[in-house]
């Protein structure tokens, strides 16, 4: 979800990943292409309490490459006439393609730890991550999936809309109920803007699933 521009931002640093020998994470049916989520992002700052309604839809998941992508729609953005939609791409922390260390997007290891440790489900992993970056951890049986979501571009508004997508989200997905929590990180925006999402099922009494062919 976009946030207000505070000042111009530097280009994100590019850095290599840290691929290990692990296998990709197994599929989780609620973190799949087509699944929709809805909730809020708290954008409060010292002056004002504020939360924007947010909808997310996952458009693609490629566990082999630790990749997923989707769209994010911010509904009651004060300076926009319409809901603002962005397209994001995500990295799944699987120890194979990506680790807990971001290594880019202006995030230091300290920033990483400060954000991950805000998720209660990260607590059991923290010690291991601090000692070796989590290299020894096998996350394939862990009921939470950690990710980074980075918005790539605006879908329905121009870049001159007064909003920025320079930062990225630290995200934690709960496999059991499909709930998502996240923290937006951008050195130039209010810190720890919290994203909270739950699965939606469009007025139905149950879950439904679409798919497209991934050969």
């Amino acid at each position: 979800m976009p946030v207000r521009v505070v000042e111009s931002n530097a280009a994100p640093q590019v850095s290599g990943n840290d691929p290990g020998n692990r296998s990709p994470l197994p599929p989780s049916s609620l973190l799949a292409a087509g699944q929709a989520f809805s909730g809020t992002q708290n954008v409060s700052n010292q002056q004002k309490e504020e939360a924007w309604r947010v909808n997310v839809q996952i458009q693609g998941v490629d566990l082999e490459h630790g990749y997923l992508c989707g769209t994010m729609e911010a509904l009651n953005v004060p300076m926009a006439d319409t809901p603002v939609i962005t397209f994001w791409e995500g990295e799944i922390v699987d120890g194979k393609n990506y680790t807990f260390y971001t290594g880019k997007w202006e995030a230091t290891r300290e920033d990483d730890m400060r954000h991950w440790s805000k998720f209660p489900s990260f607590a059991p992993l923290q010690g291991q991550v601090e000692s070796d970056g989590g290299r020894q951890l096998d996350l394939s049986n862990y009921p939470y999936i950690f990710m980074r979501w980075k918005e790539q571009y605006f879908v329905n508004v121009g870049t001159d809309c007064g909003l920025t997508i320079a930062g990225f989200y630290y995200v934690c997905f709960s496999c059991s109920d499909g709930s998502i929590s996240g923290f937006y990180y951008d050195p130039n925006s209010s810190p720890f803007q919290k994203l909270e999402l739950k699965t939606v099922n469009e007025g139905k009494s149950g879950f439904s699933f679409s798919s497209y062919e991934l050969q």
Binding site: P26, P27, S28, S29, A33, G34, Q57, Q59, G60, C69, T71, I85, F87, S140, N141, P143, Y153, V155, N156, C175, S176, N201, E202, G203, K204, S205, G206, F207, S208, F209, S210, S211, Y212, E213, L214, Q215
Partner: protein, 634 residues
């Protein structure tokens, strides 16, 4: 060019006035005077060389049998040379000509010329036979017979370049099985063929073609070839990809593609891969047969290889191919097939490729290709469509600008209408691959589709249409049809109503298929159809129960229990999701359905599965069991 003689230069265009002259040539062909006969043969030969219309017109007049009898009756070497040359000309690049030549029974006569003591006769016979061996209609040659193998080697050993070239052409034409490849290798054919690599242009080309045939999908043959003189000949073939003749460049590329596809380990060098890709891309611009063949070569090279697809993409393959397709000139079906297959491969894995492809406004061309008269072209376009439609950014890009699939504008609605209609037509094709591809494309089009698009699709296919797709004899087609249905009934609650059209005909068919012990992949899609339907109202959930436990009971074989015991975790997961939806606490009939599921042994089975090896399944089962406890079941 004006001529002073009475030769019939306007044979085909002025049939009435040329009647006498034709009769004249034919009577001269039958003349007992060798000089007259020779002159007539030369006349025919000179007229038909490179002229398809003339060939056809002479063919219709029965020239081939007339020349064949000149060949069989004469002892005169000049006449043998001229008649063999004329027959070869008829067969050159002209299938009807090959047919006529073979029908006239000249094949053994031409073979006999190879034993002549006159070098010119041998040469003419070999040339002529080579023309015939370029066609698929040429007789198959049985290498397994010893005398045939001996004869083949006598050809390959010949000093005459047309004769040794003929040997290579026979191999290229007739070697089709692993056994044949093995027999040829054991007889030392590779060692003979590689000598021709240093020969004349025609020998080289014939050699490259036959090498590709002998090596194809045969790792043992490839390792033997690469081992010859420590890889010298692999280097020679690689070197020939830079030859000045396009055909040689193409054939050496195709040979390398075969080697690569058979034994990729010989191609560790990124530079070789990259130059192979760029050479094939350059050859695409050749207007002749080499360009046609290069397109299929490229698609075969990059098939299922992400690294090569990336190389091709970086070498601007998409833009090159699309530019060729957009030239507007009529392209050979083989080239169209190769170009669409290459695009399909490029769009199969790399999202960047899909975006770049979609941004080139190709949709009209693609829809046209889906209507092409050639089935191979239609299938290729269909696969391409499917892979491009897989793009996860399509919807987003579409909204971003009007470049892609903006379904709201009247133009693209029209295109989509045409596209969907064509795909539905293709889903009824005789060819199971085409059916499968068409359904996959439709499935991807229905992924998160809005109601308007779903209605549009359903109004074309209807309940009966769906029933035949789901009941297709091919399991892979059934799987795609069910996956398509699954997408159709996902989304808003109204979408579920599609399966209730015509008294629930579609849902009944899904139930029927699931009761037939289907393969796991099909069952997964079928169970997700039931899951999606069960996410709806009370009525929808009850309809699913009807399919799971139909009356009379005898019909039921409790397939859910089998699915829960499947080794395929996705099938277990899909089945548990159906159960979750059926007993969703928000629905009034949940309790009764739970009782039924318990009595049918489903809930007890789930209790045995609390530690399922698959985390996803385990989590879902725990959801069911906690719901179960709230119903008072322990």
């Amino acid at each position: 060019m004006p001529t002073s003689s009475s030769s019939s230069s306007s044979f085909s265009s002025a049939a009435s006035s040329s009647g006498n002259r034709q009769a004249d040539v034919f009577s001269r062909l039958a003349s007992s005077d060798p000089e007259v006969k020779l002159k007539a043969l030369r006349e025919v030969k000179n007229q038909i060389i490179g002229n398809r219309t003339k060939k056809l017109s002479f063919l219709k007049l029965g020239a081939v049998p007339a020349i064949a009898s000149a060949l069989s009756d004469s002892e005169c070497n000049s006449i043998l040379v001229q008649s063999a040359a004329a027959l070869g000309s008829f067969a050159c690049g002209f299938e009807a000509g090959v047919q006529a030549v073979l029908d006239a029974g000249v094949f053994p006569l031409l073979l006999r010329l190879l034993t002549s003591s006159d070098e010119k006769v041998v040469d003419a016979g070999a040339r002529s036979l080579r023309m015939i061996f370029q066609s698929n209609q040429a007789p198959k040659y049985d290498f397994l017979q010893e005398k045939n193998m001996k004869f083949l080697f006598s050809l390959l050993n010949s000093e005459n370049e047309n004769v040794s070239g003929l040997g290579a052409s026979i191999i290229a034409h007739a070697c089709g099985t692993t056994v044949q490849q093995q027999v040829l290798c054991d007889a030392g054919v590779l060692e003979k063929l590689v000598i021709l690599l240093d020969g004349s242009l025609s020998q080289r080309e014939a050699c490259l073609e036959s090498l590709a045939t002998v090596l194809k999908n045969n790792p043992e043959a490839v390792s033997r070839f690469v081992g010859l003189e420590a890889g010298r000949y692999l280097s020679s073939v690689t070197e020939l990809t830079k030859d000045r003749y396009p055909r040689t460049r193409l054939l050496s590329c195709l040979c390398l593609v075969v080697i690569y596809n058979t034994s990729p380990s010989y191609f560790l060098n990124m530079g070789t891969k990259s130059s192979l890709v760029t050479t094939l891309l350059e050859l695409l611009n050749d207007h002749g047969q080499s360009g046609d063949d290069a397109a299929l070569g490229l698609s075969s090279l990059i098939a299922e290889k992400e690294d090569l697809q990336k190389l091709a993409y970086e070498a601007n393959a998409i833009k090159n191919i699309v530019d060729i397709l957009k030239t507007g000139s009529e392209l050979h079906p083989k080239r169209l097939q190769g170009l669409f297959l290459s695009l399909a491969e490029l769009c199969s894995k790399l999202e960047d490729c899909r975006c770049s492809f979609l941004s080139l406004e190709m949709l009209d061309l693609l829809v046209n290709a889906l209507r092409h008269k050639n089935a191979d072209v239609r299938t290729a376009a269909c696969i391409c469509f499917r892979n491009a439609a897989r793009s996860v950014k399509v919807a987003v890009l579409g909204a971003l600008s009007n470049i892609v699939l903006d379904f709201s504008s009247p133009k693209s609605t029209f295109i989509e209408y045409g596209g969907i209609k064509q795909l539905i037509e293709l889903s009824k094709s005789m060819d199971p691959n085409a059916r499968c591809s068409a359904l996959r494309a439709l499935r991807n089009l229905m992924f998160l589709a809005d109601n308007k698009r779903k209605e549009l699709f359903y109004s074309e296919v209807k309940a009966q249409g769906f029933v035949s797709l789901i009941s297709d004899p091919e399991p892979t087609v059934q799987e795609q049809a069910l996956a398509l249905l699954r997408n159709l009934v996902d989304g808003c609650i109204n979408s579920i109503e599609f399966v209730f059209d015509e008294d629930g005909l579609i849902l009944d068919t899904v139930g029927k298929q699931l009761r037939k012990s289907p393969q796991a992949h099909m069952a997964i899609q079928g169970m997700y159809v039931l899951t999606n339907v069960a996410s709806g109202t009370e009525l929808h959930k009850e309809a699913v129960m009807q399919q799971l436990f139909p009356q009379p009971q005898a019909e039921s074989n409790n397939f859910m229990l089998k699915f829960l015991q499947s080794h395929e975790s996705q099938l277990r997961s899909a089945t548990v999701w159906t159960i979750i939806n059926l007993i969703s606490p928000s629905s009034p009939g949940a309790h009764d359905r739970h009782v039924k599921l318990r009595d049918e042994g489903i809930i007890p089975q789930l209790k045995n599965m609390v530690n399922d090896a698959c985390l996803d399944v385990k989590i879902r089962i725990r959801t069911v069991l906690s719901q179960s406890m709230s119903f008072g079941d322990n």
